[in-house]
């Protein structure tokens, strides 16, 4: 393949008609920006050139010498997962006339395919003596397995079994070693131009993850934030300034990279009793699929140690620039710390949620969730934009005590709630104590009175919040209560503290129209 690559380079400067061909072999500078598409709930494991949840934005600097008049500028080495419609070229006095994205990559398959009708050579090796014979042949068919014509007789060299290979005299024009984007441009004056090529590339993305280390005092925690960059593409970005953008951008679901299939399809040989080979091929294809699936995880993450770096505004999104240039290699995952806040105030809250349920009017042992609540305020030790991501909680001794997905971006001033799972020793019972109709038979409304019992079985005092879900019932409202409710998360909420071993009761009446 090395020899073929050299042949391609030799073809780099060619003239097509009167139009000059200018080749830019590689970017002179590149920067990459990683995005998440804002469709939360997907994870970096879903990342592929087919996923539109994540993508990258590549900005390349290319210095080219252009002749006066019209020329075709070929940009070699662009990311293979480039979305052609997204390309913008800056730096030309006149706008580009035409853009082309060719992914006619030089591969064994494309080499054979483009050689149909051409003269090639079939080389056979004598298995005993090692002596080689070389015969002229013409390629007759390629895509379903090679069929070659030797002096009017036809053979399928990939199907016979004896050691034989094809030799080609030249690389068919148009096949390139790297993905190529080309533009046709027209400039009045010859000279050196610095062009900026920007485009969207699929198969790249990032996500945020947080680690909250709770201090033994039970009131403060240290919050660390990590940016995980993933590049599942085939293109490496060397020594590049890297940015990530947080925010929910609109993207087209049908944006995708042009599929690149450099694998030669297996030859459709005549049937053989060679199950082993078939099984081998299938196993190989399965392996390929597995590699692709776990690609994001297969390489060990590189951890670049860095301190806090601040978000800058980008329109209505947040832009984080990594403090140093870095190399994001193909199929690599990389983690960078972007946030470290010490002594962030938090509150451990025990929360229960009850709904109207005519089928189960009374229920014992309703779930109670332990929530770690922070306020994203400077006064509480935070006050920074927090992109959506997962947060894992560790107790004072470093034990993992739960993980929660913050599935939305948290602006400054908003609450951060990490749900660590069910609480032990806190018991919540709901009992329907009265159910009344309104009197007028045409009036469909009912009034249900519930009694909530909460018992704190812990040896410490705890704060407790009860949420009443009203959703799904027409005209639902609280009409009577023995302590006033507030509104939180869009729901009526009662909160109170419970002393060790205390049992508290709450009674309220909900009016609603049963379905």
């Amino acid at each position: 393949m090395k020899r073929l690559a050299a042949a391609v380079l030799a073809l780099a400067f060619v003239l097509t008609g009167a139009r000059a061909d200018v080749v830019s072999q590689a970017p002179d500078g590149v920067s990459v920006t990683f995005y998440y598409g804002g469709k939360h709930g997907s994870t970096l494991a879903d990342l592929s050139v087919w996923s539109f949840d994540y993508f990258g934005f590549v900005s390349e600097t290319r210095v080219v010498d252009l002749p006066a008049g019209e020329s075709t500028i070929r940009f070699r080495g662009v990311a293979s997962s480039l979305v052609p419609e997204s390309v913008r070229v800056e730096g030309l006095p006149k706008d580009a006339i035409e853009q082309n994205f060719d992914y006619d990559l030089l591969s064994p398959g494309s080499l054979l395919d483009r050689s149909i009708g051409r003269h090639v050579h079939l080389v056979r090796t004598d298995p005993k003596t090692g002596r080689q014979t070389r015969q002229d042949a013409i390629v007759r068919a390629a895509s379903g397995g090679a069929v070659i014509d030797i002096g009017g007789k036809l053979e399928a060299p990939q199907c016979g079994g004896p050691p034989e290979r094809l030799e080609f005299d030249e690389v068919p024009a148009g096949l390139t070693a790297t993905p190529t984007f080309s533009i046709r441009a027209n400039v009045a004056a010859a000279g050196r131009y610095t062009l900026k090529l920007t485009y969207i590339a699929m198969g790249m993305g990032w996500s945020a993850s947080y680690v909250a280390r709770i201090h033994p005092d039970g009131r403060t925690l240290d919050l660390l934030g990590w940016i995980t960059l993933a590049n599942d593409g085939d293109t490496s970005f060397h020594d590049a300034p890297v940015d990530v953008v947080a925010g929910n951008l609109d993207t087209n679901e049908w944006d995708h990279a042009v599929p690149i299939d450099t694998n030669m399809p297996p030859p459709q040989c005549w049937p053989l009793e060679d199950w082993e080979a078939t099984l081998k091929r299938e196993a190989w294809l399965r392996r390929l699929a597995e590699v692709r699936q776990v690609g994001v995880y297969s390489s060990s993450p590189v951890t670049a140690v860095s301190s806090d770096f601040d978000a800058r505004p980008l329109g209505d999104y947040k832009l984080y620039s990594l403090p140093e240039r870095t190399t994001v290699a193909a199929h690599q995952t990389k983690q960078v710390r972007f946030l470290e806040r010490r002594d962030v105030a938090f509150e451990r809250m025990y929360a229960g949620e009850v709904a109207i349920d005519p089928d189960r009017p009374s229920e014992a042992d309703q779930p109670v969730i332990v929530e770690y609540r922070m306020k994203n305020e400077r006064a509480d030790g935070l006050g920074v934009p927090l992109p959506a991501g997962t947060i894992s909680l560790q107790d004072g001794e470093g034990r993992f005590i739960g993980e929660h997905t913050l599935d939305d971006d948290t602006p400054v001033g908003a609450p951060v709630v990490a749900d660590a799972g069910g609480a032990l020793d806190v018991f919540l019972h709901r009992r329907l104590v009265a159910s009344q109709k309104m009197g007028d038979p045409r009036d469909k409304r009912v009034r249900d009175t519930f009694e909530i019992t909460v018992r704190n079985g812990k040896p410490v005092a705890i704060p407790f919040a009860l949420y009443q879900e009203l959703w799904g019932y027409e005209g639902a409202r609280i009409v009577a209560e023995d302590r006033p409710h507030g509104m939180d998360r869009g729901l009526p909420m009662w909160s109170f503290n419970l002393a060790p071993e205390e049992t508290a009761r709450l009674r309220y009446t909900v009016e609603y129209v049963p379905p």
Partner: protein
């Protein structure tokens, strides 16, 4: 290519593989739902009477039933589209009952021995009859080559249209070939550089052609058709359109009339689109002023949300002198260092010149709205809702959020509100709520909706 010109019964003519060579004119009319009309002029050198022509360079994705070949002084007796791909397996299948040659190499000595065999079957394993012996090919795993004498008819390495023609005179003459094919599609795409401080959008428009037809088209005149044809036409409807377009392939006014109901864009220059190529041709470059960004929140019905929602970032653009065909608009913006960054994309409808367009870029990180239904109550003939929307702005500048509440139903009326509303339509209320930098605003209202 000449290889396939042997063996036909009568006289056989090999037409030039590339239609553009010679006097041929190639034109493509591309619709944006995976359909194109190919009009391909070729020079056919025909003998007098019956003869067969083979035309290569046909789209592999051709719909053979739509082929029309016409010209001066000949008529079509029969036409076939052959694209049974030549593969080793097909070669063997077609050799059943025929003679092939089997070459065996002695692994010890390297000596070759050739025998003639008849292929008895090629189902799961190839059964050969060599002399009086019946054998399974490569049963012992020893390398064996099979040599075939010829390519069976109809097996091709490239799509080929063959026709039997009856010519009333001999000699070369132009012929018009037209057919419908799939695999070619086009779309309009825009890249816009947004300057939200000065309210401008630098718009570049590109026509993207994607060729997956299996064939290269060289120096073609390309016309693009957009319009309702794309979405409403089912298979049957479409065929009618196609039929008339094909009938008018010689440039009859019928075709033009058909197209008059749609947007048609003609590419200014001839285009070469290789197979599997994505080609973009610039068709528009303009700077739009009067670009306005707003924050919007549209509440759909009366409900609480357990978490705050981010406000939509909307871009409102007044289109100037150029009509914009529907397509995806990708918006870029410069960050503080001047580097371009992607900030969102959305679909643009067909936008006539002089009209306005609105498009959602995404959601604001720092502007949120928390809806809470304080209460809902069944009234005598409807509902009474008490709603609270808590708006939060973490930006360093004040913002105004356009908040909308729909589903007011019949006789919907406002009972009380903490900010004045506008009636956007009979069932929708709108408020413009200013939210201070780093602060909060609360909108409370009570509405009654009729039954």
């Amino acid at each position: 290519m000449r290889r396939y010109c042997f063996g036909a019964a009568a006289l056989l003519v090999c037409a030039a593989g590339t239609p553009a060579s010679g006097a041929g004119e190639l034109s493509l009319t591309v619709y944006n739902n995976d359909l194109m009309l190919v009009r391909d002029e070729r020079v056919l050198d025909l003998p007098l009477g019956r003869g067969r022509v083979e035309l290569e360079g046909i789209a592999a994705s051709i719909r053979p039933e739509t082929v029309s070949l016409s010209g001066d002084g000949f008529s079509v007796v029969e036409q076939n589209f052959d694209y049974d791909l030549l593969t080793p397996a097909k070669l063997m299948e077609k050799a059943v009952g025929q003679k092939v040659h089997v070459v065996r190499t002695n692994p010890g000595t390297g000596a070759e021995r050739q025998e003639t065999a008849t292929v008895l079957s090629a189902n799961s394993g190839v059964i050969l009859k060599i002399g009086t012996r019946i054998e399974v090919l490569r049963d012992d795993g020893v390398p064996e080559r099979v040599v075939f004498d010829s390519i069976p008819e109809n097996l091709r390495a490239s799509p080929t249209l063959s026709a039997t023609l009856d010519a009333t005179r001999a000699g070369p003459r132009p012929a018009a070939l037209s057919y419908l094919a799939k695999g070619m599609s086009w779309s309009a795409n825009y890249v816009g550089m947004l300057d939200d401080k000065n309210g401008t959008l630098g718009l570049q428009g590109w026509i993207t052609l994607v060729n997956k037809s299996g064939t290269n088209f060289k120096d073609a005149r390309v016309e693009l058709v957009a319009g309702s044809i794309n979405t409403t036409a089912g298979g049957q409807d479409y065929r009618q359109n196609q039929a008339s377009a094909v009938a008018g392939s010689a440039g009859a006014p019928a075709a033009a009339r058909q197209l008059a109901d749609y947007y048609a864009y003609r590419m200014p220059e001839r285009v070469t689109v290789a197979n599997e190529q994505t080609k973009q041709v610039g068709f528009l470059s303009l700077d739009l002023a009067h670009v306005n960004k707003t924050y919007e929140y549209a509440a759909d019905g009366f409900a609480s949300s357990t978490s705050a929602d981010h406000a939509d970032v909307m871009l409102h653009v007044e289109n100037g002198s150029e009509p914009l065909p529907a397509g995806a608009l990708r918006v870029y913006m410069r960050d503080e260092t001047g580097a371009a960054k992607f900030v969102g994309e959305n679909e643009l409808d067909h936008t006539p010149a002089g009209s306005a367009l609105s498009l959602r870029l995404g959601q604001a990180f720092d502007v949120t709205v928390q809806p809470a239904e304080l209460s809902s109550e069944k009234t005598r003939d409807g509902m009474r809702y008490a709603m609270r929307y808590t708006l939060h702005n973490a930006k360093s500048v004040p913002v105004t959020v356009e908040l909308r509440q729909n589903k007011l139903g019949h006789d919907g009326k406002v009972v009380s509100e903490t900010a004045p509303s506008r009636r956007l339509d009979a069932e929708t209320l709108g408020w413009s709520i200013a939210v201070p930098a780093g602060g909060e605003s609360v909108l409370d209202f009570v509405v009654e909706t009729g039954g």
